[in-house]
Assembly symmetry: C2
């Protein structure tokens, strides 16, 4: 991060016609963007949102309210522009890129980026979700997709996902990395009931016992209890940071990806921007671990990166504040 | 509120390609808008933001970090487009209307709506801030300004204000209406220090003792410990509700106006939409009293309606979700 530009940004913000700090997190974002981009007046006029889609073998354990087939059906819904993330991205003028990084079914469509590493993970309750090589390959997919978008000019990237069963994998990642109890971490996902919640916790406990993921080895965690789309999002975050492009963390699953990215490259957190506070209990713990605070409090629990897309507007607002507001001097306002 | 349209909206939301309720407060807004407008697919394509400006005699007590002159200077800053609210409103494509409803100085400008009821309130620590007649006249100004904008097609209205000293008046209103202690209500405003905070609480205590505002009489509260811009915003809320136009509550001061509007017409709360959670401690209590929950958590404390303007984008998102998303049937997604 460019500390000098961050200081300049802070100085400029304090000269604008408002009480110092009164725009709260918008000002923090403006300072962070200066550090990320090395520019005092960065633009976020080319917004790109990436949805990574993959399946999870663990659905065999009955951890989700929806059948696995829904991953495939929702990918086609994304491609047809009918999902929540499409509607919100259109409103924010963000381009959406859909990536098949590991859906069970063979998919075909002109506007789908097909980079399938594996046709869904294996059941993490019975063994490793994937091999180390596959985890690395999935990270690499994220890096490639991110790099492509950045080379096309993307200056703000959102991360989202689709994958029935992926709150289970994400909760297992969080349980591995922290000392939190499963009661503090595990939520209802897309809508399981109490019996389902109990089952989900049992499955996660079992997966940790069976796999013994190594807390200091991000690839090991990813391979044993992670997911292909989680690896892909982590790759996107790493490549965005490496190219000094701000990248937005969405809910629990995108947050789990950020934790993995941080394990692999601790500096990545400086390039992450928060979005909403999810209903999933583990989500706010992830923000704590990343040093982030939520911007939106909308009780959402949909995924797809819907929160990330909604917060693009706030990031843009931060850029306008620092560049377009009048200073006290310009406005001839004399205080004290 | 149109209960039948609200039921239809809920039904439509539950048919869209997402787990029921997973878009949280966006779905609640979509239902509320259906109730307000009587339309399943209301548009918020004509956004109007109103900034009411007025001065406060209580600044003589030293309750603000800024001198009274700043109210006037900031009005000119608004008119020149240099303030935070201008920058954010431009981003949201919202028109801004600036109203002089009670600034001490004589102001002149082509794009300023001049409807001065009184050249600033009297010092509420020494007696009534204004007469009942003046409070009614200020309410009437809000009604007129709101009516004009609605007749020009405004279908979403934001409320904001400028008035050095107005967190003191707003806190006094809140203290009158609730049993909360001043420690729970009073905050640092635009940036006073600890000594200033103590002073501010003393002044509010004194104002309540001197004036004895009647808790069941909204006009009495407004006249004795309120403000002209607070009355104006309450008027805007009343006229918006009467015309079935959604109106957005901003921070502490706009929230105090909403409490007054509710005293005068309890049904008004059905037409109010929340925005951010302010740093001012009393603000979240106001939301509770209005039955609202914040959408944005940005640690802001600027006023001007900056939070209201930022949440216009979320209200618009809610309208797009209900109208533009595919249903499960359209997307041929079969669940269970």
């Amino acid at each position: 991060l460019d500390q000098e530009k961050m200081n300049q940004a802070q100085e400029r913000l304090d000269s604008l016609t408002k009480p110092p700090g009164s725009l709260g997190k918008l000002e923090e974002i403006a300072v962070k963007l200066a550090g990320i981009t090395g520019e005092l007046f960065p633009k976020v006029d080319h917004k790109a949102h990436i949805v990574m889609a993959a399946d999870h073998g663990v659905v065999a354990e009955g951890v989700s309210a929806f059948p696995q087939e829904v991953t495939t059906q929702m990918v086609y819904n994304f491609l047809n522009g009918g999902a929540a993330v499409n509607v919100l991205a259109k409103q924010m003028a963000a381009e959406v890129t859909i990536v098949d990084i590991g859906v069970v079914n063979e998919l075909e469509a002109e506007n789908l980026v097909i980079k399938k590493v594996k046709a869904g993970t294996d059941n993490l309750a019975q063994g490793s979700a994937m091999s180390r090589q596959e985890a690395r390959a999935a990270l690499e997919v994220g890096i490639e997709v991110g790099k492509d978008l950045i080379s096309q000019g993307a200056n703000l990237i959102g991360t989202g996902e689709m994958g029935i069963g992926n709150t289970t994998a994400s909760s297992a990642i969080l349980a591995t990395i922290t000392d939190l109890s499963l009661d503090e971490i595990v939520g209802y996902g897309t809508g399981i009931d109490e019996a389902g919640l109990k089952k989900k916790k049992q499955v996660i406990t079992q997966s940790l016992a069976v796999n013994q993921p190594q807390v200091d080895d991000g690839i090991d965690i990813l391979a044993k209890v992670g997911g292909l789309e989680i690896a892909g999002m982590a790759g996107v975050m790493l490549v965005a940071a490496a190219n000094r492009v701000p990248v937005i963390v969405d809910g629990l699953i995108s947050g789990a990806a950020a934790l993995i990215a941080k394990k692999l490259k601790p500096q990545v957190t400086g390039y992450l921007i928060s979005s909403h506070k999810s209903v999933e209990p583990g989500h706010i713990k992830i923000y704590d671990l990343l040093g982030l605070k939520p911007l939106l409090d909308l009780d959402m629990r949909l995924g797809e990166g819907t929160g990330a897309v909604l917060s693009m507007n706030l990031v843009e607002a931060a850029t306008k504040i620092i560049s377009d507001m009048a200073t006290f001097e310009e406005a001839q306002i004399i205080i004290e």
